[in-house]
């Protein structure tokens, strides 16, 4: 696994997370994530993939009593020792259900990363950030005439792209995605998958997915987790044709999970 990744933007070292003492939801995970790639984390329900993902932007701390050990280095910084709000600006997150802020317009939604943080930008800078972010998600042409309308008037796929734009506006080092297309229809899903493949040239993407086919379609590297353990971490093409671990094999062929 040492030579799997050449240019690592995220390094996980012996990361363990537990909700209740004695039982690890994430058990001693060590992995490097390649910059400007799409890496997917797969595994059956309860295997710890979402917990691990949320640890990277310290969102897992919303659960009281959670204990984390190990090191997580994002762009060289130890994020477990930093101020959580700063970490979250380095690692953007997109959730399963599109969640644009319902009381804000599309424009305000995209720029909300700055306004909520009290970062002042003048109008020109704001316009530029909004336009660039919306262009990056192929939404600019569709909404440029209705930027003052509320975000909730968009379709599901557009809302999700808006959420991606909102996360990208802060220019994060890594984009964390928690099953971003599982609430969307197949055609919209394909649209967003194509978008992600385009986006990976600008930002590293780490995506948790239940959908093995999606993982096979778009990810360069795949991690398989089972009962909190990182069972296998490999180039997607190799993992899907010739996995090394029997548990990976069983999961891919539908015998477990």
């Amino acid at each position: 696994m040492e030579n799997l990744v050449e240019d690592a933007i995220l390094r996980l070292k012996n990361v363990s997370i537990s909700y209740t003492p004695g039982k690890n939801a994430v058990d001693n995970v060590t992995a490097d994530i390649q910059k400007n790639s799409i890496t997917s984390i797969m595994g059956p329900s309860g295997c710890g993939k979402t917990t691990l993902l949320r640890a990277i932007n310290r969102m897992h701390e919303l659960y009281p009593g959670i204990v984390t050990s190990g090191e997580i280095l994002l762009a060289g910084k130890d994020i477990l020792k930093m101020d959580p709000t700063e970490v979250r600006r380095m690692a953007g997150m997109v959730f399963q259900r599109p969640n644009p802020f319902p009381t804000m317009s599309i424009y305000d939604n995209v720029i909300s990363g700055y306004t909520l943080n009290g970062i002042k930008k003048n109008n020109n800078e704001k316009d530029e950030i909004v336009e660039t972010s919306l262009r990056n998600v192929n939404l600019w042409d569709e909404v440029k005439d209705s930027l003052t309308k509320k975000g909730t008037f968009l379709s599901g796929g557009q809302q999700q792209r808006l959420c991606i734009a909102r996360a990208l506006a802060l220019k994060p080092d890594i984009l964390l995605m928690d099953e971003p297309t599982s609430a969307l229809d197949p055609i919209t899903t394909t649209y967003i998958e194509d978008l992600l493949v385009e986006l990976k040239n600008n930002v590293t993407i780490l995506i948790v997915t239940h959908n093995m086919s999606q993982s096979a379609r778009i990810s360069d590297f795949s991690m398989f987790m089972y009962l909190g353990e990182l069972v296998e971490y490999e180039r997607t093409q190799k993992m899907f044709t010739n996995p090394s671990d029997k548990r990976t094999e069983a999961y891919l062929t539908g015998r477990i999970g």
Partner: protein, 286 residues
């Protein structure tokens, strides 16, 4: 099939029964409205809103002359508005912040205690609230006052606002808060710029309903605001309220007609407030 016919008949019978019973519950409301409107509309004119209460003498002259009683309930209206305003200033910030605390901490021990106390507060009879405020505010101030009335009303309003805020916030999807936090915003920033604006509709409705509840309160005001025959802008002095005036009209045999008009005014005010609250909550539904 015999069975399905029996079920059809049962269905229809229940359906008719439900309609009849619902109608029956509406009967008292309609009866009250009709009576109040019929007896009170004659007293309502421009003076009604701008003049202070008439004296007994004025009333006797008017009745003998066959005219409507002069004067109005302006002192009651102003007093009521002032006291409700003060009650809002006290109860709304405290209530909302409490509501936020309870919604965010569903499992904490302290939160359950606070929740329990809020429910208790809601159950305290309003006259008991009046007595307590009499002891806490009226006696130290050595005077009845609108302030005391406002404080008493705020205590009655508080649990309603806390509960409605808590319920509204609980109905918001957690992903809203998560989205805000995941952008690196501080907790307070997320609460004030994302959560509260989204919950605005429900919170505002809760406030309006609390207001419509306390407008009609009489007993606590008797012990705190006492009443006043003139429009009183100095809140450290005794003040009047429409509900207090109704009680005063009841006690004066010559001012009986004013009871109905004042009651009509109150009912209309509460009705309009409720309609307003419903419209707002529909518009702001997420």
């Amino acid at each position: 099939m015999k069975i399905s016919r029996y079920r059809n008949i049962k269905n229809k019978a229940l359906y008719i029964g439900v309609i009849i019973l619902s109608g029956l519950t509406a009967v008292p409301l309609i009866a009250i409205l009709v009576k109040v409107i019929l007896k009170g509309w004659r007293q309502i004119n421009f003076d009604f809103f701008t003049q202070t209460t008439p004296t007994t003498l004025d009333a006797i002259y008017a009745i003998n002359a066959g005219e409507i009683i002069p004067g109005g309930i302006a002192n009651g209206i102003i007093g009521m508005l002032l006291m409700v305003l003060m009650a809002c200033v006290i109860a709304i910030p405290i209530g909302i912040i409490c509501g936020i605390y309870l919604a965010e901490n569903t499992k904490s021990h302290l939160a359950s205690i606070v929740r329990f106390l809020t429910d208790l507060l809601q159950g305290i009879p309003s006259i008991v609230v009046g007595i307590i405020i009499y002891i806490w505010v009226v006696i130290p101030m050595k005077s009845y006052s609108a302030i005391a009335g406002g404080v008493a009303l705020s205590i009655i309003m508080l649990p309603l606002i806390v509960r409605s805020t808590e319920e509204t916030l609980k109905m918001l999807p957690t992903t809203l808060k998560e989205a805000g936090l995941s952008l690196g915003a501080s907790y307070s920033s997320v609460v004030f710029r994302v959560i509260l604006p989204s919950a605005f509709g429900g919170i505002f409705t809760g406030i309006l309903l609390a207001v419509s509840r306390v407008i009609g309160e009489t007993a606590p005001l008797m012990l705190t605001a006492l009443g006043s025959s003139a429009v009183q802008w100095d809140v450290t002095k005794p003040a009047s309220s429409v509900s207090l005036l109704i009680w005063e009209f009841y006690n004066d045999p010559n001012l009986q007609n004013m009871i109905w008009s004042a009651s009509l005014f109150l009912l209309m005010f509460i009705l309009i407030l409720n309609i307003f609250a419903k419209r707002i909550s529909n518009k702001w539904r997420i």
